[in-house]
């Protein structure tokens, strides 16, 4: 399915109180869809593969808010262990969407080792890590039909979408100074959350 339309499905379904973390090629698409929401975190610059980790931390800190992470197959391959960590702490409010195009798109669409290995099946890996809310869609129609239920499911949820690479699209540009963006993003999350963190059940 086309990446732009696949990302647009998320854009349409995100609720006002959701957090959306975008990274790499999907961040480029996300930023092109209109003004950023105060609770959008465009993870550019990033440490590749760590968008899901940031999302996990946010999901643990803000258990009453849905955290949506937009990632890629190359990114997930760089940090596969994070699926185990996500499963270990199982935040029900975390949704990770992997746009699987088989390439490192922002560097010019070189193949990932996963693609060379005849296609890595992330859903099988996720199941083996202990996740249970797992979906894979290959067509845009199927993704559109299934997205709402995937978002509504008790997470953590992993959605893998087969998308076509955009090899000439280039990488995303940072939408502004990082320190200012970090400060504004944190402020947008903290209206009433400090108390929630202290109330968070320990060791559940």
């Amino acid at each position: 399915m086309p990446l732009t339309e696949a990302v647009a499905v998320v854009h349409q379904l995100r609720r006002d109180d959701d957090v959306v973390i975008s990274s790499m090629g999907n961040a480029r698409e996300w930023m092109a869809m209109g003004p950023l929401h105060p609770r959008d975190f465009v993870f550019v610059p990033s440490a590749m593969g760590h968008a899901t980790c940031v999302g996990l931390g946010l999901a643990l800190a803000q258990p009453s808010r849905r955290i949506i992470v937009l990632s890629g197959d190359g990114s997930l391959l760089m940090n596969l262990g994070t699926l185990v960590t996500v499963a270990a702490y199982s935040p029900p409010n975390l949704v990770v969407i992997v746009f699987d195009n088989g390439v490192y798109e922002v560097t010019g669409a070189q193949p990932t080792p996963g693609a060379i290995a005849l296609g890595v099946e992330f859903t099988t890996i996720a199941k083996g890590c202990g996740l249970s809310s797992i979906h894979r869609w290959s067509t845009l129609d199927d993704w559109r039909r299934g997205a709402e239920n995937a978002f509504a499911a008790r997470g953590p949820t992993l959605v893998v979408l087969d998308v076509a690479p955009k090899p000439d699209a280039g990488g995303p540009r940072s939408p502004g100074p990082t320190a200012e963006r970090a400060k504004r993003f944190r402020e947008a999350l903290l209206d009433s959350s400090i108390r929630r963190i202290r109330d968070y059940p320990i060791g559940d």
């Binding site: 610059p45 440490a47 803000q62 963190i197 060791g203």
Partner: protein, 162 residues
């Protein structure tokens, strides 16, 4: 060096809400006491690079995370640490076990002694070296100074075996 109870008391006093960790044979022994401590949640990650990014998410969400790793994990952490602490300028504090500092019986010639402090210097992380249990107050003071200045920092805990 310290007991788990001492560390748990310190972290509670400092208001730490989450300890993101990969254990070693010294700091790993603190985990049980930390997990028994109300108000402190231990998050065990698969590799140290993850720890900084999870801590970043926790910080954005209003928590007060601390990264607890060995110096070998510091070496592994490079790009993630750089991104969190320098790109995003998040004031994440870390406690780092300094392998073989007190003796090299297990690993003679351990290169952790060569690279740990220069690595912290290279990443521009202000640290305090802790070589004796009487220095627990040094950690407390350094942590508070870092918080007050909204900057990252580290306590480097001398270890006696690999």
């Amino acid at each position: 060096m310290f007991t788990g109870e001492q560390v748990a008391t310190l972290f509670t006093e400092l208001g730490v809400t989450h300890v993101i960790t990969v254990p070693d044979s010294t700091i790993g022994k603190w985990g049980e006491a930390l997990e028994r401590t109300p108000g402190v949640r231990v998050v065990r990650v698969c590799r140290e690079g993850e720890a900084w990014a999870v801590a970043a998410g926790l910080h954005f969400g209003g928590a007060t995370p601390l990264v607890l790793i060995q110096c070998t994990g510091l070496f592994e952490s490079g790009d993630s640490l750089r991104n969190v602490v320098h790109d995003w300028k998040l004031p994440i504090f870390s406690v780092i076990g300094y392998r073989s500092y007190l003796n090299q019986d297990t690993l003679p010639g351990d290169t952790c002694l060569v690279f740990t402090e220069p690595t912290l210097d290279a990443w521009k992380i202000g640290y305090k070296l802790i070589t004796d249990p009487s220095q627990i107050g040094v950690i407390r003071d350094h942590y508070r100074a870092c918080r007050a200045a909204n900057r990252p920092g580290a306590a480097l805990i001398a270890e006696g075996k690999a």
